[in-house]
């Protein structure tokens, strides 16, 4: 058990999988000489060389498109999108191609690529660089969408994503790279499509993922001081969505708060809440609450930005409302 940062965990997963399987290669903007905009691939260029760590022009469409083609031809590309906001420039390749090529041709070939994209707000990058549009991508069958909230999950899930024969969008949160956590030494993988209880509690079920997992855990600690014990379930994968542990927990607590960083409308919370009502209707003691981003493009101004993003205090308040 070593304590490492999220950055190190992701970096280790990439490194290990590249050592393990020479079909795995990285392409994207500034992944090579620069060492990755968020320094995730620092040292990779020198070790693996320009063949396997490929700096590309600024052209998201062909970055993901070429990754799709290389995957069809049997390689295992890991395409890096500097931020998920730029995924909109590759949207057609992601939703019309990565997600459909396998089934549309009757399963003749697979498309085993991973698209790493950095998401999230809170760094004053303005409306076009701060989005959390995870639900938008999770809407499309054929794609798998992963968004880890701890170093261990980041490492284990990224390794599983790279080994998966299906296209995976792997969403990293820009403000979590420095976060530290325990990661078992050596070879670890985590299963895709399996939610995980990250904190035990009897009073309320908090359902969340990614950065908001940390926010929810902090809120839970505050609530514990007041004798309220929240159980925190981490979705980890948004498609396929595993409701098992969520429902199981909810059947004990009968109360739930869903915490997401993105906008609420047509978001993650809406789907989780709907499924909870569908799958555990008789266990509902209070309306399920959603905590999410305010419905506005995220402003540059720090105060307004923080006001728009879900805070620990918002989670605490929501939990008290459902109790």
């Amino acid at each position: 058990m070593a304590v490492i940062t999220m950055r190190e965990a992701i970096s280790q997963a990439l490194w290990e999988e590249m050592e393990r399987d020479d079909r795995v290669f990285i392409l994207g903007e500034e992944v090579g000489v620069w060492g990755g905009t968020y320094a995730v691939t620092k040292g990779f260029f020198d070790h693996f060389g320009p063949k396997r760590v490929r700096d590309t022009p600024i052209a998201e469409g062909v970055i993901v498109g070429a990754a799709n083609g290389a995957a069809m031809a049997g390689l295992r590309p890991v395409a890096e999108l500097m931020t998920i906001n730029f995924a909109f420039l590759a949207m057609d390749q992601i939703v019309n191609h990565s997600a459909k090529l396998h089934s549309m041709f009757g399963g003749q070939f697979t498309v085993p690529l991973v698209i790493r994209a950095v998401g999230g707000g809170g760094r004053q990058l303005g409306a076009t660089h701060s989005q959390t549009p995870d639900a938008v991508f999770a809407h499309f069958p054929g794609l798998k969408v992963i968004a880890p909230g701890t170093p261990q999950d980041a490492k284990g899930l990224l390794k599983s994503a790279i080994r998966s024969d299906d296209p995976v969008l792997f969403i990293e949160h820009a403000t979590l790279y420095q976060m530290r956590g325990e990661v078992p030494d050596g070879e670890i993988t985590e299963p895709i499509g399996v939610s995980k209880v990250q904190r035990l509690g009897r009073d309320v079920t908090i359902v969340t993922y990614s950065k908001m997992l940390q926010t929810s855990l902090q809120a839970s600690a505050e609530l514990a001081n007041e004798g309220i014990e929240a159980e925190v379930v981490d979705l980890r994968t948004l498609r396929p969505l595993d409701m098992g542990p969520v429902v199981e927990s909810f059947k004990r607590t009968n109360r739930a708060v869903i915490v997401e960083e993105g906008w609420p409308s047509f978001g993650i919370g809406a789907e989780v809440a709907s499924r909870l009502y569908e799958q555990a209707f008789d266990y509902v003691d209070a309306p399920i609450r959603r905590v999410a981003q305010k419905e506005a493009p995220l402003p540059y101004n720090r105060t307004l930005e923080q006001m728009a993003l879900p805070q620990v205090s918002d989670v605490v308040r929501a939990v008290k409302e459902v109790l």
């Binding site: 070429a66 191609h97 085993p112």
Partner: protein, 335 residues
């Protein structure tokens, strides 16, 4: 290498064996009849969705693909029936796919716009204009990555050269010197928009210069000229990197079934029909005495029979099972 000049610089191919000329003739004839059969099956309501016929453009697909080696990949857009046949796919699996049958090359999931058969190194059949150009870049990258000598041949229409994908794909192919043969089927129109109403330059070849990619224009109605150019272009790609071959051609039918064709006059179509690629080759074969009238007619009946059998096969083939809906959403089960 081929200087990036115009068609003139490419020698017309003179020395083709009679057998190969006849094979090309038969293939193009097969495509023509296949498309005619598809058109009537569409009229009968047995084919749904969009149906884009290749009639008039047969010489481009057959001329280029016949020059490839088996390890060379082929990929194109939705106007893909002729390319599929040129790639070696049997007419029956093409027609079965058009009818959405389980015996179709894509098991009835893809339809006319999504033909593919990996066993023939044919990678589709793609319906989003320009979107398969990046796929071609990726495939060529994979071959280069594995030190395979294969070339990826990517067909697209002139209308597709105005979309961003064209720019991003050609730049990256040139930057990384990837083995891609870009083949632009310039049939003058993208749906109802003529090339001069959509593109700032009318010579598509000229666009390749922005990436330092050499190119050439050829008469896409003359299969031997196309074949000769393709052979030289493929050599160039294997030796030095991407090349753009612009084939001037024409589609005799509408963009897809049900096209009102308000955008062109019928005499323009008639003019081009005098350049019929199949007629041109037939004439050449008889001139060069590569075969005799009677032999060609036998061959034509053979083709008719093959198509007739293929239609029967397609019609009698089973529908996909209901489970097929979910069978390939993910490659990994339990997902």
């Amino acid at each position: 290498m081929i200087s990036s000049g115009s068609a003139g610089l490419l020698q017309r191919r003179e020395n083709m064996e009679a057998s190969e000329m006849l094979r090309l003739y038969r293939e193009m004839m097969l495509v023509r009849r296949l498309e005619e059969a598809a058109a009537s099956l569409y009229q009968e309501g047995k084919i749904g969705g969009f149906l884009h016929l290749y009639i008039g453009q047969e010489a481009v697909g057959s001329g280029v693909v016949s020059a490839r080696r088996p390890e060379d990949r082929v990929i194109t857009a939705y106007r893909d029936h002729g390319i599929a046949i040129a790639a070696g796919m049997p007419a029956r699996v093409v027609l079965a796919e058009l009818l959405g049958k389980a015996t179709g090359c894509s098991k009835g999931m893809g339809g006319s716009m999504h033909l593919a058969d990996v066993s023939f190194n044919f990678w589709g059949g793609h319906a989003i204009v320009g979107a398969h150009l990046p796929l071609a870049v990726g495939m060529a990258l994979a071959d280069r990555y594995r030190e395979r000598q294969a070339v990826t041949i990517c067909f697209f229409g002139e209308g597709a050269t105005n979309i961003g994908y064209f720019h991003e794909a050609l730049n990256l192919a040139a930057l990384w010197k990837l083995p891609v043969l870009w083949v632009c089927e310039n049939n003058k129109y993208g749906m109802g928009t003529s090339v001069e109403r959509a593109s700032a330059v009318e010579e598509i070849r000229q666009k390749a210069e922005a990436y330092g990619i050499p190119g050439a224009r050829v008469n896409g109605m003359d299969v031997l000229e196309v074949r000769g150019a393709a052979e030289q272009a493929l050599e160039h790609v294997r030796r030095e990197g991407p090349f753009l071959l612009e084939a001037i051609t024409y589609r005799y039918r509408g963009h897809s079934m049900g096209d009102p064709e308000r955008y062109r006059r019928s005499d323009e179509v008639r003019k081009w029909q005098e350049e019929d690629p199949i007629g041109i080759l037939r004439k050449r074969i008889l001139e060069e005495k590569a075969s005799r009238e009677a032999a060609l007619e036998r061959l034509e009946t053979e083709v008719d029979e093959e198509i007739g059998e293929a239609v029967r096969f397609a019609e009698e083939s089973p529908e996909p099972a209901p489970e097929a809906l979910f069978e390939h959403v993910y490659a990994e089960k339990g997902a």
